[in-house]
């Protein structure tokens, strides 16, 4: 088996064998698989591919593992107080549980130590080329891939290696999506994206406007309620705010007990609405609009404290801003407010700069890949994207099973080519399929998946691939 330790040697031996289209030499890495990124999805890709007998080279632009969860990384979106939204059983890798004496919702630093321990336990670091970023990924003959890398920051020469397969695990929470507001350039106060938010000290004593009602927006609004002199929370539409605990248990665990008991979605929605009515009651009382959808129809916002601070008057809900002036912000209802600091918690956009967008089925106009199971590209059987999902639950189990499926697919290419042809046909026929039930279609929901629907689809794909 080839491992990354003989990378240099094989480079010397084979450098004269092949050339890229523009005449650079390519080192042939044989059956080795390339993994892009050593965050949670990349690490589980390395682990599952090596477990299935493949050699792996992973390229990581930073100098440590952990990706988004490593707060030392300049692309990390975590802030000092980030805690998990999904409870432990839904967050951990299925085959490497977190310590059971950890809290239900661990802190981001615990998550990083968990990922570092995962890398240590399964000896994954020896496959990772740290401080190396991927510049280009191009298809080569025979379903192989030419991967061009260089040192992070553009130092040193580029080198191209050819791989049998590629797993893209570069994450999707690092490229800020900034809304284009009229007059924002003239605004004299401070404006920042949530990606630059690190510490509650940045809010202390200021008049703060938080834009966006995702989980990050709600978290920052809650911190502003504690630290800032004033906090407005602007949301375009209204949401259901699920508490982190119901009936004395983490809310997702209660939900999954109901799912395990096969309680229909309608009944679960009714139970949720009942629970919320019995606890917080009518949210419009706090000045929020009534949600225009039922619970479980948008990405869940799990925050017990937001309602608490609304009730204490520490957060003022306001509609979306429409125009910025040098010293004030005009809102959709015509009101004007005068924040000193505006935090845009408006999300992130997935980016694959190193790849021709057409390869992922994106014709370049919408900016959304069209994949089957959010992972497999039509007509590229040796390419997979890991972790391109926005689940209503933890991400790691989904990435784990995606990469298990990919590893088994690659193995089946040798042992059972007939099955692989069936899989390839399914990828073409079912690309773009969604797994979210009747979820509202909005720009941030296109890769939303319900963890149960999605994992069931993965399970079926795995069984079809391996059926006798």
């Amino acid at each position: 088996m080839t491992t990354s330790t003989d990378h240099g040697r094989s480079d010397l031996e084979s450098s004269s064998l092949a050339l890229t289209r523009d005449g650079r030499s390519v080192s042939d890495r044989g059956d080795t698989v390339c993994v892009i990124g050593a965050g949670a999805s990349g690490l589980t890709a390395i682990k599952n591919l090596t477990e299935h007998g493949f050699g792996v080279d992973c390229y990581e632009r930073e100098t440590g593992v952990g990706g988004a969860w490593n707060w030392r990384h300049d692309r990390s979106p975590v802030y000092a107080s980030t805690h998990l939204i999904s409870s432990r059983p839904f967050t951990q890798f299925p085959d490497f549980p977190m310590p059971d004496d950890w809290p239900d919702y661990p802190h981001h630093s615990q998550l990083l130590s968990y990922l570092e321990r995962y890398a240590e336990h399964f000896d994954l670091r020896r496959h990772v080329w740290f401080g190396t970023e991927v510049v280009r990924v191009e298809p080569a003959d025979g379903d192989r891939w030419d991967v061009t890398t260089r040192s992070t920051g553009g130092y040193g020469p580029e080198r191209t290696s050819q791989y049998a397969a590629v797993v893209i695990a570069n994450g999707h929470n690092w490229s800020p999506k900034l809304p284009d507001y009229e007059g924002l350039a003239e605004f004299r106060g401070e404006a920042m994206h949530a990606s630059s938010y690190q510490d509650p000290a940045q809010l202390r004593g200021k008049r703060v406007l938080v834009v966006g009602a995702g989980n990050t927006g709600c978290d920052i609004a809650v911190e502003a309620a504690q630290q800032a002199s004033r906090c407005w929370h602007a949301t375009r539409r209204s949401y259901w705010y699920a508490p982190k605990y119901v009936l004395g248990r983490p809310v997702d665990q209660v939900n999954d007990v109901l799912l395990a008991l096969r309680v229909p979605r309608r009944v679960r929605q009714w139970l949720y609405h009942l629970t919320l009515r019995l606890t917080v009651g009518d949210l419009t009382r706090f000045g929020l609009a009534r949600p225009d959808h039922r619970m479980l129809e948008t990405h869940p916002i799990v925050n017990s404290q937001l309602v608490h601070y609304l009730g204490h008057g520490r957060i003022t809900p306001v509609p979306d801003p429409v125009r910025f002036h040098p010293h004030s912000v005009e809102l959709a209802d015509g009101r004007r407010i005068d924040p000193e600091l505006v935090v845009f918690a408006t999300g992130y956009l997935p980016r694959f700069d190193f790849l021709d967008p057409k390869i992922l089925g994106d014709d370049g106009t919408v900016g959304r890949p069209v994949l089957w199971l959010n992972a497999f590209a039509p007509n590229h059987p040796t390419l997979a994207v890991a972790g391109l999902v926005q689940p209503d639950s933890g991400m790691f189990p989904l990435s784990h099973w995606q990469t298990v499926l990919f590893a088994r697919l690659l193995r089946s290419r040798v042992t059972r080519p007939g099955r692989v042809a069936g899989f390839a046909a399914a990828v073409v026929a079912r690309a773009g399929e969604r797994y979210a039930g009747p979820v509202r279609d909005s720009s941030r929901h296109w890769f939303e998946v319900g963890h149960v629907d999605y994992l069931r689809a993965l399970q079926r794909a795995l069984h079809d691939l391996e059926a006798k």
Partner: protein, 271 residues
């Protein structure tokens, strides 16, 4: 190899096993030369002490970091009268995942069944099943025939009593045998019940190599059951005649543990 993987575990996600304090005894070699850690899992009625007697120290002396766990309810760990096989498997996976490197799981007796369940959740480096009691009616009837008075109550949810002759060979000095028998505890009722009627273990994840050790003179585990357990993992049992069920406490305890360590040294590591 085709094996059906189970992804959906709604019940386990919704009702995770309650954490308890677990006893783990360690014997670690002075020099770490990168060998995989061993995690010994005792069977019903035993505890980490059963491995601490001889095997832990011996494995460490041969360069393997060795750890033995007391399952919940066993002496040394928190009491758990309502423990199930799922909770036991959870205990094993928790301790295995806490070790610095991918571990080799070694289960003895019903502990081997616990290890088999744990293997469906944790990709072990390798697994060793020592006199594996996988349960079922065959095992119950064999035990009933050899020790009717001790076994009968267990079939009705009572306590299982095992005799000296079931656990040890004739060579073990009577004083030692009495000392070990005095330390035996009682398994949780539900787990004992599940040993008879519980679900089959799911296929192991990560495809670990599995070694099965046993004795043809084991008076708890009938010979065909031993062969059947080995065949599940595509191997044949390695036999140590003249020894009782408790291979790690018997007079010739050194032979099986040396065979186990020799096998690990020969087994090529993956990756």
């Amino acid at each position: 190899m085709t094996q059906q993987v189970r992804i959906m575990r709604g019940w386990e996600w919704g009702r995770p096993v309650r954490p308890v304090r677990r006893e783990v005894l360690d014997a670690v070699p002075g020099l770490d030369d990168g060998r995989p850690p061993l995690l010994f899992v005792p069977g019903f009625g035993h505890g980490a002490w059963a491995f601490a007697e001889h095997w832990l120290g011996h494995a460490a002396a041969r360069g393997f970091p060795a750890h033995a766990l007391s399952l919940r309810g066993q002496p040394g760990s928190d009491p758990a009268p309502e423990a199930t096989l799922r909770a036991y498997a959870h205990d094993v996976v928790q301790v295995a995942a806490s070790l610095p490197r991918q571990a080799v799981l070694v289960g003895h007796g019903a502990g081997a069944l616990v290890v088999a369940h744990a293997l469906a959740r944790y990709p072990a480096r390798a697994a060793v099943l020592v006199a594996p009691v996988f349960g079922g009616w065959g095992t119950a009837l064999a035990a009933l025939r050899r020790n009717p008075l001790g076994t009968l109550p267990a079939l009705f949810g009572g306590r299982l009593r095992v005799s000296r002759a079931q656990l040890f060979g004739r060579e073990l000095p009577g004083e030692d045998a009495r000392r070990h028998l005095a330390r035996l505890g009682h398994p949780a009722r539900r787990a004992q019940w599940q040993l008879l009627f519980g679900r089959e273990p799911e296929p192991a994840v990560g495809d670990p190599p599995v070694l099965v050790l046993g004795s043809p003179d084991d008076r708890i585990l009938p010979g065909p059951a031993l062969t059947r357990a080995a065949r599940r993992y595509g191997s044949a049992p390695l036999l140590f005649p003249g020894m009782g069920h408790d291979l790690m406490l018997d007079a010739r305890w050194r032979e099986p543990v040396d065979a186990l360590l020799d096998w690990l040294e020969k087994e090529p590591s993956r990756g």
